[in-house]
């Protein structure tokens, strides 16, 4: 239609090149931090004998979700070990946990800030809405632009994809703290920090934990997708199954993902309901 092609790709390349050279220190530090986290989680999980980890995860699941779920979790973990997906399983777990560390580190303060400022909430809300309407793999594109291929962009994309529910629910939880509780604290002469840590956060905790739960589940789904850009783990096994049309292998990897999903979901769903020991 036109005699020329709009050079979007050239602009973008130029911009990304410019940014990644200008801010190479920033991107490098982020990369290193992500690698550090993932490696430590992975090493930590894999140095344990599988049996030990199975028992530990089983106990945590029992504490959070009761016998039945703990039974399912332990059986699932034995199956994963048995079908030779133990390492991939723990890689994925390490990726999810690393991404979640970033999600919590940024999501909580942003949520708290949004709860305290209607203006900031007004800005961030449509942004979060927009982020949630985007298909998951769209997040991979900017991530690979700045971090290349591998697990680092995978974790970064996962972080971006998984953070909205935590911000949203932290904000919501704090805003839902009854006005009188805040007034009661103020009447005693509570400072802002005292209100936050002694009243708002503890009262909002179940809602915040629902946010953590949702973000972990979103994170898990993203980590599997991130295998497309070389993040490894169970996602890579699924992908391999699909690419080679090996239905059985793909199914096994998928089953391991489901087992991980069940365990993470049940454990984090239980967080919100914990009472202080009597």
């Amino acid at each position: 239609m036109f005699p020329f092609r709009i050079p979007i790709r050239d602009w973008i390349s130029a911009a990304v090149d410019y940014l990644s050279t200008q801010f190479s220190v920033v991107f490098d530090s982020i990369s290193n931090l992500v690698l550090f986290l993932v490696d430590n989680f992975k090493d930590g999980l894999l140095t344990l004998h599988p049996l030990v980890l199975i028992v530990v995860l089983g106990l945590i699941t029992y504490r959070m979700a009761g016998w039945a779920t703990a039974g399912v979790a332990v059986a699932g973990l034995f199956i994963v070990e048995n079908i030779g997906l133990w390492v991939a399983f723990n890689e994925t777990l390490a990726l999810v946990l690393s991404a979640e560390v970033f999600v919590i580190a940024f999501g909580l303060p942003l949520g708290i800030f949004a709860a305290g400022s209607d203006r900031f909430n007004g800005i961030i809300r449509p942004l979060l809405d927009f982020m949630q309407t985007m298909p998951a793999f769209v997040y991979l594109i900017p991530a690979i632009m700045f971090f290349g291929l591998g697990l680092v962009p995978g974790v970064i994309a996962t972080f971006v994809f998984a953070i909205p529910p935590l911000i949203r629910l932290t904000n919501l939880g704090i805003r839902q703290v009854p006005k009188e509780l805040i007034e009661a604290s103020d009447a005693f002469g509570a400072t802002r920090a005292q209100k936050l840590f002694k009243v708002q956060m503890p009262v909002a905790l179940p809602t915040v934990m629902a946010g953590v739960n949702q973000s972990i589940m979103l994170g898990l789904s993203m980590v599997v997708i991130a295998a497309m850009i070389g993040a490894g783990g169970l996602g890579a096994e699924v992908l391999r199954g699909i690419q080679r049309l090996e239905v059985g292998q793909g199914f096994e990897a998928g089953l391991a993902v489901v087992i991980l999903a069940v365990i993470l979901d049940r454990i984090t769903a239980g967080f919100g309901q914990i009472k202080k020991p009597q």
């Binding site: 009188e180 103020d186 005693f188 002469g189 202080k276």
Partner: protein, 416 residues
């Protein structure tokens, strides 16, 4: 110096409140101001002095500005105009840090209708809360919390969570949280309104009992006149953000300033408000300790009474005589007219103090057969309680003047 001085305080919600003031100064009411400017009048131009140790009640219909006025006292709401002076300090001039410091020093927190206690903390943790905010160390606050838990009768529930307690017990936690703090002013906003009537009355009684020992300065918000009159040493009645009347229960009942107050007063359960002093009747006739039996019988017959109180020249009460017994005695000993009644004829009547509440008077009345005498601390006879007066007091629209009684005529009533 009063504990709390509220000087011409107003609170207007919304931007550019001057617009509302202009209209309010011309006497335009709250709803019109709101319709024209969109500004909400919380309270307008209120001045009150609250004394140390007083239970001061703020009363009015929903939306009349009670909570707003109360929240101005610790600056949970910033006053738009006026001064609030507590312990001699103008709190409206304090900066944020001074205010936090002052709240810790002067306020025993707030008690709310919906309890507003922390769901994630035990009873102990909740009662400790105020002390924790004040930075009291753990051991000390445990000890103090335990004391207060016992005062409000929650011992044994220290480790229970709020969700395991009834409403009444949750409100005890709310109250204990305030009492644990060693500060004078306690703010209570509809604190008992969510409780069912029996528990509610029990809590009111307990509050009064606690108050008689602790002597806090309590500012109590309620929409219930019975509660207001039961608890309040003085009551301020708000209407549309304006204070329409302030005074003691009796002042308000006997002299409601307008229809709004009258409407409130008409819905009242009067037994808690009226006292023996308000409803007592002047003593029409008495017998003197030096009177002989015949004289006494004569007096009794002339007055048409079934019994007669016996006093001395100082009007000190010595007892009462029954008409039938006196007549019998006179028949027996017709010889000696001057003979004074034998002590077996002199019975001791039920006596009450003028401040005794009508509720108690009614109880006495239903139990006793003889007269009920109203006496002062020196046992001087001030008046009597007659059945008719009790019934009159219980009926609506009653004013003490209606029975022609005033304090003077009561004490100076001549022996007829």
């Amino acid at each position: 110096m009063s504990k709390i001085e509220i000087k011409n305080v107003s609170k207007i919600f919304g931007p550019k409140p001057e617009r509302a003031f202009k209209m309010l100064e011309q006497g335009i009411p709250k709803n019109e101001v709101q319709a024209k400017t969109g500004l909400v009048v919380g309270v307008y131009d209120i001045s009150i002095e609250i004394e140390k140790g007083e239970v001061f009640v703020i009363m009015g219909l929903s939306g009349s500005g009670k909570s707003t006025l109360q929240r101005l006292l610790n600056r949970l709401h910033e006053p738009t105009r006026g001064e609030i002076i507590i312990d001699g300090k103008d709190i409206t001039k304090m900066d944020h840090n001074e205010l936090i410091h002052f709240r810790r020093k002067a306020f025993s927190g707030m008690v709310f209708q919906n309890f507003a206690i922390l769901p994630h903390r035990t009873v102990m943790g909740n009662v400790e809360f105020g002390l924790e905010i004040h930075g009291v160390d753990k051991e000390k606050r445990r000890k103090r919390a335990q004391e207060v838990i016992e005062i409000v009768g929650l011992q044994g529930y220290e480790n229970s969570f709020p969700s395991e307690l009834s409403g009444g017990m949750q409100q005890r936690v709310g109250l204990a949280r305030g009492l644990a703090v060693d500060a004078d002013i306690l703010l209570m906003d509809e604190a008992f309104s969510a409780l069912d009537p029996l528990i509610r009355r029990e809590m009111q009684d307990e509050l009064l009992e606690l108050q008689s020992r602790m002597k806090k300065t309590i500012v109590f918000v309620t929409h219930d006149l019975d509660e207001a009159f039961k608890l309040g040493d003085r009551i301020a009645i708000l209407k549309d953000g304006v204070m329409v009347q302030m005074g003691t229960a009796e002042e308000i009942i006997t002299n409601p300033v307008d229809d709004y107050v009258t409407a409130f007063v008409e819905g009242l359960d009067r037994t808690g408000v009226f006292t023996a002093g308000t409803i007592m009747q002047p003593v029409k006739a008495t017998a003197h300790v030096n009177d002989g039996l015949h004289t006494i019988l004569h007096r009794i017959r002339r007055a048409g009474l079934s019994s007669m109180l016996l006093v001395d020249s100082q009007r000190i009460l010595h007892g009462y005589l029954k008409a039938g017994e006196v007549a019998e005695e006179v028949k027996k000993e017709s010889v000696d007219e001057k003979k004074k009644p034998h002590h077996s004829l002199i019975h001791s009547p039920e006596t009450v103090h003028p401040d005794t509440h009508l509720t108690e008077v009614i109880n006495l009345y239903s139990e006793s057969t003889g007269p009920i005498a109203v006496v002062n601390d020196n046992n001087k006879l001030l008046g009597v309680i007659v059945r008719g007066a009790i019934i009159a007091a219980l009926s609506k629209g009653y004013k003490p003047e209606d029975n022609g009684y005033t304090e003077q005529t009561g004490t100076e009533e001549k022996v007829s």
